[in-house]
Symmetry: C2
Amino acid sequence: MPKRGYHHGNLKAALVEGALQLIEAKGPTGFTLSEAAKQAGVTPAAVYRHFEGRDDLIAEAAREGYEVFGDLMEYAYAGGQPSALAAFESTGRAYLAFARKYPGHYVAMFESGISINRSPELAAVANRALGVLEKAATDLSKHIPPEKRPPPQMFSAHIWALSHGVVELFARGSPGTKSPFEPEDLLETGIGIYLRGLGLIKPDA
Amino acid sequence: MPKRGYHHGNLKAALVEGALQLIEAKGPTGFTLSEAAKQAGVTPAAVYRHFEGRDDLIAEAAREGYEVFGDLMEYAYAGGQPSALAAFESTGRAYLAFARKYPGHYVAMFESGISINRSPELAAVANRALGVLEKAATDLSKHIPPEKRPPPQMFSAHIWALSHGVVELFARGSPGTKSPFEPEDLLETGIGIYLRGLGLIKPDA
DNA sequence: TGTACATCAGTGAACGCGCGTTCACTGATGTAC
DNA sequence: TGTACATCAGTGAACGCGCGTTCACTGATGTAC
């Protein structure tokens, strides 16, 4: 970081960074605008040069998160290659990987209470990201015989719920809800069993 | 409610009730001690006749929740009758039913940040409740051939995660994460597919 | 039944605190000539 | 290259607010005689 004088240079990014660290450490409501400012080495009032206020700062953190998240999901999905099944599994893993690597963003996105529809820009980037999972589910569901095929949205909702539950219950430091298994393993095996239940993996595989 | 004079009569219960309503409406951090007191028609200071402070009040709400939750789960499990499978499915449904019927309690238990190990009493009642799900999973897993049987704790962790995810993402009013399906349906079908994947339900059932 | 008194559940004022936000300001930077 | 000036990103003091918590108190209740 360059030596900072009166002007910070890149305060906006530094504030988001500080907010993310605080959110990660104390949850979305543990974060305060003043503390984020202090962490960036700046007066609380300076925040208002770059954001409309507290919520706007959180929303920006969430927006960043959805952007990275969307990129990761798209990269993992990779247009459904090499197979719909592989792409789907890869997308599920990317979900957890994101939550692990960017916990602050994850919380800002899913636990901060910031509405996805707060601004059109936020809605767009969020819908893109969440759309990838649904797309992967849609592709994969074509391999299920129509008469036993659940609607793709239901399908992706299941995977999303399982992933989110694993993150919330087992990938956090929350005391008392420990499990003898790694979150990665839990999600991987859980998705595996689920896909087997859909007949997408051979029973004895 | 009887007319109240200087003495409230049942302030402790009224405070917990007020806290639960606030938690349900605004989340665990939206609740304030002062507001809970006001809702019970009482000065904030009066709270300290019954609780050690804010956290103690939340912990009591959580304790109550685990008690009801444990009862419901045990009732649903019913000693594994009529079959391990039926008992297991019934237990899963009871989970969601609890979250729907007692949302304030649910949040106090799983999202308030109150540690299960805050007091031995809280730990006991929580472990009893969570133990039922694991017991149901253990019973059911005996019906899986040993070589493809996942550890029961993993099994129950999957179901817990799926249930929790459905609650958090789809059973709340959180905007933007709506789904065209009812949470009950999502959980029911999700668990069904999962159990099929374990070979516990016939593939064409 | 009536009175004295202990117990207890509430009051209400006060505290210190950190919050988000505003405001007039000032120091640094960049641009026109 | 040097100077005047506009622009902009920060300061720091102040605000009103609601919070959790404390304290000495007082009104209501229950019990002993």
